[in-house]
């Protein structure tokens, strides 16, 4: 079983993925292909299941139905060493950065190198400081605790941690949420730069259109548990899809009805 047996196969393939929490369906037949070296951004409202989709691919959640393949290899329900091997291909930037608050900043960045790859601490620290520099943070930041960082710095440390092991695939979950527009743009630039430098495949989720336009090669819109539109980022304004139009222009009126009780 060679993971790279078929270079033409999409890097990640989600097919008819269903996931429900109790009686509430979140993903209802989601199909999405992400090509090798491509940057796909999934847009959609809050609570539409964008993070759930990422977690299904990572095996943090198990889909109720459907197939997910990474490099042509089915990953739903795998465990043990197979799962470890597949997870080594991934890096992820979490919405709240999810830095380990019991460890210093450099230890956070070096975590995957020390624990996952068994690199010596001194050497890993060198790599960590290099990655921190890459996201614009000086070596003195490495000695701080995550609690001492601002939101933007946390995101940048999270980004450094996600790229430290030089993964083939990087997930960005709401990379700009909670940041001011300028810091958001800094993060966007860093994401584009890091992904390009690593030649990685990227899958991001966001509801920030400025961010989507900047980091996406291709955009897909998630609505009611399915991808209702997908296409190159340049075509998003001519999607001819009323849902997409409403979303990218941020209008309250349209086919997407928010569950808000009107007085």
């Amino acid at each position: 079983m060679s993971p790279d047996s078929n270079p033409a196969a999409p890097k990640i393939k989600l097919e008819n993925v269903h996931k429900a929490f109790g009686p509430k369906p979140v993903l209802a037949g989601l199909d999405l292909d992400i090509g090798r070296g491509e940057s796909v951004v999934v847009i959609g409202g809050s609570g539409t299941g964008k993070s759930v989709m990422l977690k299904c691919v990572l095996g943090l959640l198990r889909p109720d139905q459907g197939d997910i393949a990474v490099d042509g290899e089915p990953v739903v329900g795998i465990g043990g060493t197979d799962r470890d091997r597949v997870l080594k291909k991934f890096g992820m930037l979490f919405q709240g950065a999810a830095l380990f608050d019991s460890l210093s900043v450099w230890e956070n960045v070096a975590f995957g190198l020390i624990q996952g790859e068994g690199m010596a601490r001194d050497q890993a620290k060198g790599v960590a400081l290099e990655k921190l520099a890459q996201v614009g943070l000086g070596p003195e930041v490495g000695e701080l605790d995550p609690a001492e960082l601002s939101g933007g710095m946390k995101k940048r440390v999270g980004l450094a941690r996600a790229i430290a092991t030089e993964p083939e695939i990087i997930f960005f979950d709401e990379p700009t949420t909670g940041l001011d527009p300028i810091m958001g743009d800094v993060i966007n630039d860093l994401i584009v730069e890091c992904v390009r430098e690593l030649g990685a495949t990227a899958l991001s989720t966001t509801h920030d259109m400025a961010s989507a336009r900047k980091i996406a090669d291709r955009v897909a819109m998630l609505y009611q548990g399915r991808i209702i539109w997908a296409g190159p980022v340049a075509e998003i304004d001519e999607s001819a899809n009323a849902h997409v139009d409403q979303f990218i222009n941020g209008r309250a009126e349209g086919p997407i009805a928010m569950e808000v009780l009107k007085p």
Binding site: L60, F100, G112, G116
Partner: protein
Amino acid sequence: MTLVTRFLATIGRFFIAALETLGRIAIFTVTSVLHCLQPPWFLRLIGRQMLSIGYYSLPVVGLTALFTGMVLALQIYSGSSRFNAEGAVATIVVIGITRELGPVLAGLMVAGRVGAAMAAELGTMQVTEQIDALSTLSTNPFKYLMAPRLIAGATMLPLLVLVADVIGVFGGYLVGIHKLGFNPATYLNNTVEFLEALDVISGLVKASVFGFLIALMGCYHGYHSRGGAQGVGAATTNAVVSASILILASDYLITEIFFAK
């Protein structure tokens, strides 16, 4: 009719939910234990947990044992003097402490101190996605978080209880000598003479089981906490309550196993 079916459905739902929880706990326990037994072990993390469970619990466990031993001496004296058996005070104090009160009270104190802290820490890590982040960094959370806590809990509680035994007996000795007027040599002699190895050993076995249960409940409730600050708060409460009840229930079971011998 609908009232009846609705009533039955409520019972059924409750029963299914209870079974689900039981199943979740069983799977969690087996997974955790397997990770405790298989290398690699994170020695640095195990050491840190040992320090937090063992060393930092010493003051609270020591004080509990001291006062318990003192009270025990007074109560047993007032009971045994009713049929002129005051001479048994030292013996009953040491047996009561080593077999029962040392492990149970130390267990309950540690459940409140350490179990709650574990649930709060792991719960916060869960709701801030730090546990998910561990997995994406090729580190199994059971290996990295649960195993060190369980190993430290099961090994440190017996040591704590050994210290508690000594301090508890010393508390009884202080009261016996200074308040009840025993002769120090006689008191110590009575303490040692009728004590059997099994009294101490059964207490230490209990302690190890209690330590495991405290860590297990702390980890389980922390790991399964959902929904922000409130969820973490509930996890903390549940960890302490469930650990305390399991301590008392397993105490009876273990006592009965040793009692049969």
